[in-house]
Amino acid sequence: MNPGPFALFKWEAVAAEWPVFATGFGTTALVSLLALLLALALGLAFGMAGASTSKGLRGPTRVYVEFFQNTPLVIQVFFLYNGLPYAGLVLPVFAVGVLGVGIYHGAYVAEIIRAGIEAVPKGQKEAAASQGFNAWQTMVHVVLPQTRRIVLPPLANQAVFLIKNTSVLAMVAGGDLMYQADSWAAGNLYYGPAYVVTGLLYLALCLPLSRWVRRMEKTSAVQA
């Protein structure tokens, strides 16, 4: 008789071999963290460039944002994993994850930062300029601090998308949570519990962030 996809002994197997999932969870968390830092750094640089008055700075920003927002993440990661070796550059799969996901989400972060900077009233920049601040000092001391409250909720939202998107690594044997669960289940066909546990682990990473976004949006709605 068929024991069904969620038979008790399959759950027991997941519990017994929990380190497989813990390893994947750790990799996913670390790739997410590093990719997020990369996305923030790229997003801040390209976001500020995109909000500048110089066409020479805005042009490259548009190319970066449009290219990475309008091509699939999967192709970008496959290119890093399968394409770059032909150019003599073999990246460890962990680096492929950090770079691929980080650069992809950096394009979205750049747009969030740019919109946040542009939401600060023009009079603020004029006041700073009239006091003698140059463009960079105005950005650091006057504009960016006012941008923070505007951009935090959408940035946290991006972090949620980023964490989920690290699962693309499963396609290139990335050792992340999705890959670990999938390859473990491929060996014993205990897919049901493996995927449920994996889903719950992603939920544990993302749900607190989502809840925090909700709370931030409520408080800023009250303040506005």
Partner: protein
């Protein structure tokens, strides 16, 4: 102190300043009046180069700002500007609004900048609001803070771009009082305003602008008792009721 020579300004097809020549002496109190759209605000914003003239020269304190791009920021440290909409930094407290530029630009120690800042807040009657945020203040209070913010940079020149136009009527006087008090000092003041009482009492000289040109200039006495140009007479008859 301030010299504008043959200054022209275009915004696209609009020709908003037409061959402006103007000299403001040290310690002079100059009031600029005129109908809306006459170029008053653009004129005052050309003095600290917030608007870059399309043509002509702007010289402040012997530095030609239209030639020395690098010096513009430094010269601006000695030119305070008060805006119609206050433009206080909303993420900073009142006292931090006063100390940000002195600390970051003039490298004045925080304690010293705060001490002088509190002095100026006392002078505009808002010492008790030092730790409040701008959003907690009335418009009149915000504008007085904006003036104190300029003063804490110890400027040689103060520019006022319609400082009372965004205020409720009962708050206009408290701002004008602060400006009148300030005018007793040796500071150079250029004031764009519709407050004719202030112009009459405080100005050394009044200029009247229309359609991008300086149409008439003279002492307040000349202006309010014996204007020569028809355009000036028409404007004054409409505004003085």
């Amino acid at each position: 102190m301030i010299q504008l020579e043959n200054v022209d300004k275009h915004f696209g097809a609009a020709h908003v300043l037409k061959n402006i020549n103007l000299v403001v002496a040290p310690a002079e109190k100059l009031v600029v009046i005129g109908p809306s759209g006459s170029g008053k605000s653009t004129l005052i914003r050309c003095i600290n180069l917030l608007e870059k003239p399309s043509k002509g020269r702007v010289t402040v304190d012997d530095v030609e700002l239209t030639a020395h791009k690098a010096y513009v920021h430094t010269v601006r440290e000695s030119i305070g500007m008060v805006f119609q909409n206050f433009n206080l930094y909303p993420h900073k407290t009142v006292l931090e609004n006063l100390t940000l530029a002195p600390i970051k630009l003039k490298k004045i120690p925080r304690a010293e900048a705060e001490a002088s800042g509190l002095g100026y807040l006392e002078r505009v009657g808002l010492k008790d609001k030092a730790s409040a945020y701008p959003s907690q203040l009335s418009g009149g209070q915000q504008q007085r803070v904006a003036i104190a913010r300029c003063l804490n940079m110890h400027p040689k020149i103060m520019l006022f771009d319609e400082p009372t136009s965004a205020l409720d009527p009962e708050m206009i006087q408290e701002v004008l009082d602060v400006m009148t008090d300030l005018a007793k000092e040796g500071i150079t003041m250029v004031v764009v305003t519709h407050e004719m009482g202030f112009a009459r009492n405080v100005a050394d000289r009044v200029i009247f602008m229309d359609e991008g040109r300086i149409v008439e200039e003279g002492t307040p006495e000349h202006f309010f008792t014996n204007p020569t140009q028809d355009r000036t007479k028409l404007f004054l008859s409409r505004i003085l009721r």
